[in-house]
């Protein structure tokens, strides 16, 4: 049997050594695997880790890719801090997108950019409503939120699929399951840089993150509500003793995280797609769970974790395009990276011992 005992003190040296060691071990095992599979190992590593940084437009694409991950991750951070296990951000992402998108399609000729703010609010409401289902079932009937939120992901996926094939389908789409394109007012533009033009796909949605990170940091560290969330996660009975209302907190964190997932969906689609289609998310809601934990449930950590995961995802795309390495192989590599990072963090905090049975 393996036992984990918390260390009395986390060694300062280890907090620096552990992540570096994790990266080296990942690289080492990555080299082994890629060599074994017959790919040029150094070239592959270059594609995965460094190619996303090789040009300025590629660097800005990292932020574009990280944008939804970070927004969803921040919402999940609140849930996980309160020990509420929202696994269904993917579904909340879809439903927020769908509600805001349906609203946008009602106004095909809007030009004003003010319209996008209304869409973001509606997206928030859509995601929050979807998260309200597990919230109310958990607080009223004590139904496990993990199962409900996860299963609602599949409901949402099938529902948006039905909508774009049925009621929302563009008659001019030649039979493709696509909605009409959004109006100008419902789109998020790329940011023009004077003298340079556009930097890859970098769009104004990034501004939302620049706002969200400091606000969420203030919220969890400096407000009474943030304190309540932390206490509920650390010791529910102490929260009860303090007079914090457990159900209210549970519902609130689920609504906020669902809402933020919806907002992430609106920004993603309005910036990069411009219409509704069966696939709007590409697993952002699930990947954001990893981002939240990798970022140690802190806003700044999540910012970096989001950037890191986005880098590896883009690198994997590049490796696929330029070297023909299948996604499953790079997925395996991502798995190894996560394994070592999380193991390194665990050994920092715990002594691990084999104990005879």
């Amino acid at each position: 049997m393996i036992t984990f005992t918390p260390r009395d003190k986390v060694s300062k040296n280890w907090t620096i050594i552990a992540p570096i060691l994790s990266i080296f071990l990942t690289i080492f095992f990555g080299l082994l695997i890629f060599t074994f599979l017959g790919y040029n190992p150094l070239e592959t590593l270059y594609q995965i880790f460094l190619s996303p940084f090789s040009r300025i437009d590629r660097i800005s694409d990292i932020f574009v890719k990280a944008c939804p991950l970070i927004i969803v991750g921040i919402g999940l951070m609140l849930c996980f801090r309160a020990n509420v296990w929202n696994i269904g951000a993917e579904g909340q992402f879809i439903m927020g997108t769908l509600l805001a998108g349906s609203f946008a399609l009602l106004f095909p000729n809007v030009e004003t950019k003010f319209f996008i703010f209304i869409m973001i609010i509606i997206g928030f409401i859509g995601g929050a409503l979807w998260a309200f289902i597990p919230a109310i079932l958990k607080t009223k009937l004590n139904v496990n939120e993990i199962l409900v939120s996860l299963m609602l992901v599949y409901v949402a996926m099938l529902f948006i699929d039905f909508m774009v094939r049925g009621p929302l389908r563009d008659p001019m789409s030649f039979g493709f399951p696509l909605s009409k394109p959004y109006s100008q007012g419902a789109l998020i533009n790329k940011i023009p840089f004077p003298g340079i033009g556009y930097l890859g796909q970098l769009h104004y949605g990034i501004l939302f993150i620049i706002l969200l990170i400091p606000i969420s940091w203030l919220f969890v560290n400096k407000t009474l509500s943030g304190f309540k969330i932390n206490v509920l996660g650390a010791a529910p009975k102490a929260a009860q003793f303090a007079g914090f209302k457990q159900n209210t907190i549970t519902i609130t964190v689920l609504l906020i995280s669902g809402g933020l997932a919806g907002v992430a969906g609106v920004i993603e689609v309005s910036a990069n797609i411009g219409q509704l289609q069966p696939e709007v998310s590409f697993g952002y809601g699930f990947t954001a769970i990893i981002v939240a934990f990798l970022g140690r449930l802190s806003p700044i950590g999540i910012l970096f974790a989001g950037i890191m995961i986005a880098t590896v995802k883009l690198g994997a795309d590049n490796a696929q395009i330029s070297m023909g390495i299948p996604k499953v192989v790079t997925g395996l590599f991502e798995g190894i990276l996560l394994f070592f990072l999380l193991t390194g963090e665990t050994i920092q905090k715990y002594k691990i011992k084999w104990v005879g049975v």
């Binding site: 304190f227 650390a234 009975k237 003793f241």
Partner: protein
């Protein structure tokens, strides 16, 4: 029967050392247990008693040191090998499956194969022989705590032990059950089975043990003849300093107004494992300590929660503060009205272990700290605001901290309890309600906590003390009642009730209406 001669040594442990990290739990401990001897192990919390017996029972391995049984050196690598060496142990917290029957529970723990029918007859035989009466086919969940302990003992006796280790066996028993247990243990010893008896209760040791070994901070400081000593000497050896008596100067005045009153309070249990509160009537006046005795699990937790406001009453007027109903007020509102509760569980209930002392001060009194009464101050009200007051609580209550503003889990049990008490008293309550306030703290801290309770009532506050410790109840209370299976006995002045009556009430053997009504 007993022939005086040099006693034969059953177990001899030499130079036992055991450390956890930097903490030395056992240091060069030597102990010899003779055949048929009741050997008590006495020490404060954290003195190293549990570590030592866990080494004997194979749960822990010593860093260095040897154990010899009948002069043969043995290595006890697991509880299994301990049992093979004739060592049995009854833990403080029982390890029984509530959903299984007595016989099934015993079967699980057996190392040898036996037919179920033979097992039943063997259990019946043992339970008759040792007067450990228990029905082998009954489910454990239907047994009282005392009966469950008997099952544990039978389970050990099935293995024909040469040494029986008992870890704080009386902490959950009524006085009557305790005297029964002692009879059994004495008979066992006279039949040749040695008993290693762990306790911090001095009277018990004097009554029961032949020899007593006193541990202090991991060192065995003395082994003495228990028949030739007294409680005061034991206590002072255990603590290592003279114990100051409590100052019980009471300013008795007849004019005491009612502070808190419970009237016909009923509350159905919320889970299958809870206890329903049944028609509870309780009154506490200013300047008075009312003690609520009772065995754990008889509704104390439920009573505490309804007094604190963690659960609300069914009717507003079931709890009255100065004749005003507060039954619908939540815990924060009750704190603001001056009702303070100090729950039994210090970590995870009264405090959050991995938050700092300032954050834990903020935890229950966040409403005191916003800098102004506007939206922004209330929104950004955070533990930074409680820093100064938390430092004051630490200073005023002699809470010893390893550093400034430590995490709650860095404090010892006694110091954490002093902090929790200080935190409540800083709110200047009218009524203070304590549950097991000295449970698991060392004697020094316990004395200072008890003195604080007395001072509280002397200064005119109303105090309710819920405790399993009868000694504590009798020492501190002005009036006493007993909780049994969710019902409260009539409240009587301490002079009109004896420990024996309380014991009977605790076991549910005496109805309040019987004898006490007339006194």
């Amino acid at each position: 029967m007993a022939i005086k001669k040099e006693p034969e040594i059953l177990l001899k442990a030499s130079n036992i050392n055991k450390s956890f990290g930097n903490f030395v739990a056992n240091k060069d401990i030597n102990i010899s247990i003779a055949k048929g001897e009741i050997h008590a192990l006495l020490g404060e919390n954290g003195a190293g008693k549990s570590t030592l017996v866990k080494i004997f029972y194979g749960v822990l391995k010593p860093d260095t040191g040897t154990i010899a049984i009948n002069d043969n050196e043995v290595s006890i690598s697991s509880p299994n090998s301990a049992r093979k060496n004739g060592i049995g142990m009854v833990f403080q917290h029982f390890s029984l499956f509530p959903a299984l029957t007595v016989a099934e529970n015993i079967l699980i723990a057996l190392d040898t194969k036996i037919k179920f029918k033979d097992l039943i007859s063997e259990i019946s035989r043992l339970s008759k022989e040792w007067e450990l009466f228990v029905d082998p086919l009954k489910r454990v969940s239907e047994l009282s705590v005392g009966e469950q302990q008997r099952v544990e003992i039978i389970r050990c006796l099935m293995q024909n032990p040469k040494l029986l280790i008992m870890d704080e066996p009386t902490s959950v028993l009524t006085p009557q059950e305790i005297s029964n247990l002692f009879k059994i243990l004495k008979r066992l010893a006279s039949s040749g089975c040695s008993i290693l008896y762990i306790s911090h209760k001095l009277e018990e040791i004097i009554e029961l043990a032949d020899q007593v070994t006193i541990l202090k901070s991991g060192v065995s400081i003395a082994t003495i003849d228990a028949k030739k000593t007294n409680t005061k000497f034991l206590a002072e050896t255990m603590v290592g300093k003279e114990i100051t008596d409590l100052k019980k100067t009471k300013s008795i005045s007849d004019n005491r107004d009612t502070a808190l009153e419970l009237k016909g309070l009923n509350k159905n249990k919320e889970t299958d494992f809870g206890i329903s509160l049944k028609n509870i009537n309780l009154k506490v006046n200013y300047g008075e300590i009312v003690g609520v005795a009772g065995i754990a699990g008889n509704g104390q937790v439920e009573l505490m929660e309804i007094l604190s406001g963690e659960t609300l009453c069914e009717k507003d007027d079931q709890i009255l503060l100065e004749n005003k109903p507060v039954g619908f007020k939540n815990i924060t509102e009750r704190r603001q009205l001056g009702i303070e509760t100090i729950p039994e569980e210090r970590t995870l209930h009264a405090t959050v272990p991995n938050l700092t002392i300032a954050e834990n001060t903020f935890l229950t009194y966040f409403f005191k700290y916003p800098k102004a009464n506007d939206i922004i101050s209330n929104l950004f009200n955070n533990p930074h605001n409680s820093k100064i007051e938390s430092e004051k609580i630490i200073k005023d209550n002699d809470v010893r901290c390893p550093e400034t503003n430590p995490l709650a889990n860095q404090l010892s049990g006694g110091n954490l309890q002093k902090f929790i008490l200080g935190r409540s008293l800083a709110n200047n309550p009218k009524v203070a309600i304590f549950s097991q306030p000295t449970w698991g703290v060392d004697i020094g801290a316990a004395t200072s906590i008890r003195q604080k309770l007395l001072n509280l009532s002397n200064s005119g506050k109303a105090v309710i003390l819920i405790s399993q410790d009868l000694e504590e109840i009798f020492e501190l209370s002005d009036k006493i009642c007993v909780i049994n299976n969710g019902a409260l006995s009539k409240i009587l002045p301490v002079a009109q009730i004896t420990a024996e009556d309380v014991g009977l009430l605790m076991g549910g053997k005496l109805k309040t209406s019987d004898k006490l009504e007339t006194t």
